[in-house]
Amino acid sequence: MLSRIAESLFWIGRYLERAEDTSRLLEVHLTLLLEDPVVDEEATSEVLLRVMGIDGEASPDHQTVLQLLGWDETSLTSMVAAFYGARESARRSRETVSLEMWEAVNTTWNMMRGNRLQHVPAHRACQLVRERCAVVGGIADTTMTHDEGWQYMMLGRQLERVDMTSRIIESAAYNAESPYAWTQTLRACGAHHAFIRTYRGAATDAQAAEFLLLDRMFPRSVLVSLQAAEDALASLESTTGGRRTGLTGEALRALGRARAELEFGSLEETMAHLPERMSRLQRTCSAVNDAVSDHYFDGAGASVWRAGVR
């Protein structure tokens, strides 16, 4: 597979997941503002933006949040921008992704381009983004060959899921004084129903955190996502001749280390240093991303030709 195409597929995975998770995060934030009468709109918005990597927004209100994380195409963190990223990556690899998948991606983009989501009720806009991501993901799973290219997409998706879930959990940690914080966090991860069913409603914050971090049955838990990313990476290694050392070895090690720390570390300690632990997970994702890029996508960047030297 061409390195450039592999990179595109990896980023389709990342962007799709990012769009989906951003929509969850945004929707929950909006619900929280409505449902909790004592919540400080400005402080909560600031935390949310900080968690998403936006600093220095002066006294943000929910409109600012909606714009920056929602429908603004020029804001790099918005769900529309993330979907645009997926669409451009799919366009670059249009002969590789399945026709049905391309059409699903493109139709979705036509629904949201030109700030169209601005004119849809925010709740509906978030729902639309999530549904369309599920459609695209589902079509990809059932119409693409599960070869190397699909594995890159899976790797991208899982890595992004770890990254985003850790951010969602981090935001809960900052909002710990709100009685709704963990309920909202569970909702943001699409885990509320699963959690209630698992613990029959009588559960503590620590159990909620445990569920999101460690549950082996829940497909969006950090542990399951890390494991899935490892599996994708391992299967990519086996297609490239099983080079188990070097840069991807490093990527695998980083994933394994993060997983082991979660799995075998004590939950109390994790809970005590939750923001710090979550930041560390995000750093792991970024390190894995870099290692994979260096190893598989090398040379895929634009090359420069100058007087006979490329």
């Binding site: 061409l2 450039r4 002969e95 493109n106 139709t107 190397e148 297609t239 490239t240 090398d298 006979g308």
Partner: protein, 528 residues
């Protein structure tokens, strides 16, 4: 009788392909006219809108000044009967064969110049005659793997050649998608015609590209080289790559090492044998051409010269489709093939010939002037529509560089009914049939791209000037398809599976079910 084409206007000097001057519908269009009458104008219009919507979602687009636009497809097909088509087909194949011979000659022995059929300077002063390509021997001798010969129908309805495209002609993807779109939008109409299919194009192209592989390569790696998603024809590049199952590469995916071309993959560098390039000569190889190009791959031309890679279409083909060379093509056909041209040219004056020039400069206000290098309708001046100032300016430009211009009479392109705001109205069309040369035979895709100028009276049909397209139907035989009745089936009871039988009949229309039961009762109803 009132119908879809009842108040359809016709003009005596213009050939309308659907409606003759007396208002009667021409052969080939009768069924469409009847069916459109049945639908009614509103239904036809709605179906047209459905097509645009689906093109938008499928991303059937072209890039216009950095913006992706859906390629407009008109709902009325253009029909060409079997006999007319066989004439066009033979004419296109003849022309491509002659142009192949010409290219092999001018990049080799130059016999045609020695024999004084064409003046030497016409070849050597062409901007597309590349000395770096001299004596490169292509894999199976083919240089024009893909060509698009632009045709028009004149006032009498006769096909004439307007222009040859043997560099990197585009548009074939729309031929393929237009047919699919029409099939889903007008199934009743498509279903009652026998239309020659176009879907074989990608496999024909792949076969020709594989046949052109360097010698000794039995299973060549064929790639499609694109300038990238911002190129106006990117949709086409990705579609062809997908349908051929080839990789779509950009210049930066390729490297040359030791006279070989390799591509960067996740498994390391891997060899490439045939490049179906959709990058212009000038940008293809910065070593040989523009050294500021990042779209190409440095050294690819040397690899071709060494015989390690085939570039399709070959580098330097532009010398044959230059609009000045166009005026010599009838002579080229006579010289190499010893035949008379089957499809005539449009009359052409060469500005570099002093007597021609004098005549043209006298009649600037009634002729069309075209720059020999232009494409997409760029730089064309239509005399009768130009202002005095424009004509004075033109006179100066032409006198300063006569080699760069040709002149032609204003040809009234034929018209075909087209859905516009006012309903169905005549709009000018041209036709670009595509031909593939695999080294054994020149195969002409039945149909080709019909481009239509959507403005009233507008003569330039290019998409960059707001043109649209039509599905082009080449009819087979008399063009009519008789309904094939479903073969009578004996119902077989297998164990306990009545649910399955029930489900099957549920899915079918009740009438058909009754019909089948009727046939069952009649037992055998002879083979269909």
């Amino acid at each position: 009788m009132t119908g879809a084409f009842t108040d359809y206007p016709t003009t005596p000097s213009i050939y309308d392909e659907t409606v003759a001057h007396r208002g009667e519908v021409r052969p080939g269009y009768e069924q469409i006219a009847t069916q459109f009458d049945t639908f009614g104008l509103e239904d036809v219009r709605n179906r047209g809108e459905y097509v645009s919507k689906s093109y938008h979602d499928q991303g059937v687009t072209f890039d216009y000044e950095g913006e992706e636009r859906p390629f407009p497809l008109d709902i009325v097909p253009r029909v060409i009967d079997a006999q007319t088509w066989s004439h066009v087909e033979a004419g296109v194949a003849q022309r491509v064969t002659a142009l192949e011979a010409f290219l092999a000659d001018v990049y080799g022995p130059m016999q045609i110049i020695t024999d004084r059929v064409i003046p030497r300077h016409i070849v050597t002063t062409s901007n597309h005659y590349h000395r770096v390509a001299f004596d490169i021997q292509p894999g199976n001798g083919v240089r024009v793997h893909v060509s698009g010969i632009d045709l028009i129908r004149d006032g009498e309805g006769a096909f004439r050649v307007l222009e040859d495209n043997v560099r990197i002609p585009s548009g074939v993807s729309y031929v393929l998608t237009n047919r699919r779109a029409m099939t889903s939008t007008l199934p009743e109409v498509v279903g009652t015609h026998r239309i020659r299919p176009v879907a074989a194009y990608p496999s024909r192209l792949l076969r020709a590209l594989r046949a052109a592989a360097p010698s000794g390569i039995t299973d060549p790696e064929v790639v499609v080289l694109t300038p990238g998603p911002y190129n106006s024809a990117y949709f086409e590049h990705s579609l062809l790559a997908r349908l051929m199952g080839c990789r779509l590469v950009e210049g930066r995916d390729l490297v040359t090492q030791g006279g070989r071309v390799l591509m960067r993959t996740t498994h390391g560098l891997q060899p490439v044998h045939v490049i179906y390039r959709r990058v212009d000569d000038d940008f293809l190889d910065p070593v040989a051409f523009r050294n500021d190009s990042v779209l190409g791959c440095p050294g690819v031309l040397n690899a071709a010269r060494a015989g390690n890679v085939t570039i399709a279409n070959a580098v330097g083909n532009g010398v044959a489709d230059d609009k000045l060379m166009y005026s010599y093509v009838p002579d080229i056909i006579r010289y190499y093939l010893g035949e008379e041209p089957i499809l005539p040219n449009v009359d052409t004056w060469r500005l570099e010939d002093p007597t021609h020039r004098e005549e043209v400069l006298d009649r600037l206000d009634e002729l069309v002037l075209k720059p020999v290098d232009g494409s997409g309708g760029k730089g064309i001046v239509i005399g009768p529509q130009a202002s005095r100032a424009e004509l004075d300016q033109l006179r100066e430009t032409v006198s300063a560089s006569p080699r760069g211009w040709i002149a032609q009479p204003v040809v009234q392109l034929s018209t075909v009914p087209t859905m516009v705001d006012d309903g169905l109205r005549p709009r000018h069309v041209d036709l670009r049939p595509f031909a593939i040369n695999d080294g054994e035979k020149v195969w002409v895709l039945p149909g080709g791209l019909t481009r239509v100028a959507l403005g009233e009276g507008e003569l330039i049909v290019n998409s960059s000037r707001g043109g649209g397209s039509k599905d082009t139907w080449v009819l087979s035989g008399d063009g009519r398809r008789t309904r094939v009745e479903p073969r009578a089936q004996r119902q077989v009871q297998i164990g306990t599976a009545p649910q399955v039988a029930l489900k099957r009949s549920e899915a079918e229309p009740a009438e058909q079910e009754q019909q089948q039961q009727q046939q069952l009762a009649d037992q055998e109803v002879g083979p269909c």
